[in-house]
């Protein structure tokens, strides 16, 4: 039996009928056409499906869509505002922190969740914030540099 849920996705109010067995990831990708969150392992290990749920980074493959009722979801598509990329996105480009790109949207959102809560970040905290996001290309160094650059800009 389908359930009607209301949620805010990237600032837009949505009403959508979902099957209880659909995960938030499936609804975002298949019903709303938002493919920024990637389906990687689908078991909560890789972090490619990271989205912000009420400001907290979660693996959307581990969240039932019905549980997102009344909540606010931010995906990679919602990071840019008025055609202007988010500071994190610009920093990722400037530091060459993207290779194949599969982990990037998750990395951006995990970093954003942390930066929103605590703008004064140490390198250790940045590393911990992306603990759950696996990247098989970059070796993480440039990603951490990009996030550090944004954190330093916020501080100065």
């Amino acid at each position: 039996m389908k359930k009607l849920i209301k949620l805010t996705v990237n600032g837009i109010q949505r009403e959508i009928e979902v099957e209880p067995r659909q995960t938030l990831l499936e609804v975002l990708r298949e019903d709303l056409g938002l493919t920024g969150a990637k389906k990687g392992c689908n078991q909560g290990e890789c972090g490619a499906c990271t989205v912000l749920l009420d400001g907290q980074a979660v693996s959307s493959c581990l969240v039932l869509a019905v549980r997102a009722h009344g909540k606010t979801v931010l995906t990679a598509e919602g990071l840019a505002t008025d055609g202007q990329l988010h500071a994190l996105q610009q920093a990722f480009i400037a530091h060459g922190a993207v290779q194949c790109g599969f982990c990037t949207s998750g990395m951006l959102l995990s970093a954003k969740a942390l930066l929103d809560r605590n703008p004064h970040l140490t390198t250790r905290e940045i590393e911990e914030s992306i603990d759950g996001n696996i990247c098989r290309c970059t070796g993480y160094v440039k990603i951490i540099e990009a996030i550090s650059a944004v954190a330093q800009n916020k501080n100065s």
């Binding site: 980074a57 693996s59 914030s129 603990d131 759950g132």
Partner: protein, 330 residues
């Protein structure tokens, strides 16, 4: 892999939830954070008719201290536990243990109640139904044989929760509610040592809260975990120690050592603790106790990690943890 079909129930009160479980005994699964359960459902390790969500049960959230007893609601997430001033102040070891659970992506969803009810794990069990179908159904799945030990009707799946060891060492209890009433069990007795049914919670019960005495009299506790990938994995082995020193004499008044990842339940290394009770903590004595602790566990090869390696790591972790809490230099 999609989730199997189920009916989603979202009761508005605990009483309603318990009534649902009582009416549909054996056909329900309770979902809190879902980080462990959704993977199990995707792998068809459970096929419940009803999924009973605890999302609306607000009273099951939150942390409070009354008369030196700290009570933590079962729906408190790892992230909330880590950020709670009361826990940071009174139980810094628990903050440390909660930080070791999964990754930040899990910690924002996973609850303390769910963590304590974590299912046991095994390389023949934590697999997709397709993978498992290549062999006869194992004991953990309801079959007759254990593929790890080749024994009949016995399951040796490993308990690998991160919070239980420290909470047992700090003498925590859990409250289980059912439609017939409530019962409080010491956490130590909550676990069964039966890989198939790792804890005492019945189909009709919900774990509602965790209670423990606020550490007093210089009791300190901490948890150390060894895992393959520091960022996300379950423990290969984890060791929790709670220690109380007798201040003027400098001897060990109370000590509890509890080990996870080393058996079908959190294992208390009581012989090792006895070696140190009433003694002054010295490096050689601690090393001896650590060797004893490694002999007290009975690890089974439920992952690609060998029991021998688990014993070695246990010994190292026990030694390191006691030295750190006792303030002893290497």
């Amino acid at each position: 892999m999609h989730l199997p079909r189920f009916q989603y129930q979202e009761p508005g009160s605990l009483a309603e939830a318990l009534a649902l479980l009582a009416e549909n005994q054996g056909r329900c699964k309770v979902i809190a954070g879902g980080t462990d359960l959704l993977v199990a459902l995707k792998q068809r390790r459970h096929l419940p008719k009803y999924l009973v969500s605890l999302d609306k049960l607000v009273p099951l959230k939150g942390i409070r201290e009354i008369d030196s007893v700290v009570t933590i609601g079962a729906l408190t997430t790892m992230a909330e536990l880590i950020a709670a001033p009361l826990i940071q102040d009174k139980l810094p070891g628990l903050v440390q243990a909660a930080r070791e659970v999964g990754s930040p992506l899990h910690r924002s969803l996973a609850t303390i109640g769910g963590n304590l009810c974590l299912d046991t794990r095994c390389r023949f069990y934590n697999q997709s139904s397709f993978w498992r179908s290549a062999r006869p159904t194992c004991c953990k799945m309801g079959g007759k044989v254990c593929h790890v030990t080749n024994k009949q009707n016995a399951c040796f799946a490993t308990y690998a929760g991160d919070l239980a060891p420290l909470l047992i060492a700090l003498r925590a209890s859990v409250k289980l509610a059912s439609s017939r009433g409530e019962r409080v069990l010491p956490l130590d007795r909550f676990y069964t040592d039966n890989g198939r049914h790792p804890n005492q919670a019945q189909d009709t019960e919900i774990l509602t809260e965790i209670q423990m005495p606020a550490p007093a009299g210089g009791v300190t506790g901490t948890y150390k975990k060894y895992r393959e990938r520091a960022a996300i994995d379950f423990p290969v082995v984890g060791v929790a120690v709670a220690l109380q020193m007798d201040q003027p004499t400098g001897t060990c008044r109370d000590l509890k050592i509890v080990i996870t990842g080393a058996g079908s339940r959190p294992v208390e290394a009581s012989l090792a603790a006895q070696k140190l009770l009433g003694q002054e903590l010295r490096s050689e004595l601690i090393a001896e106790a650590a060797t004893t602790a490694a002999k007290e566990i009975r690890p089974v090869k439920t992952s690609h990690i060998t029991p021998r390696f688990k014993r070695q790591i246990t010994s190292l972790l026990v030694e390191e943890t006691i030295k750190e809490l006792g303030g002893i230099d290497r």
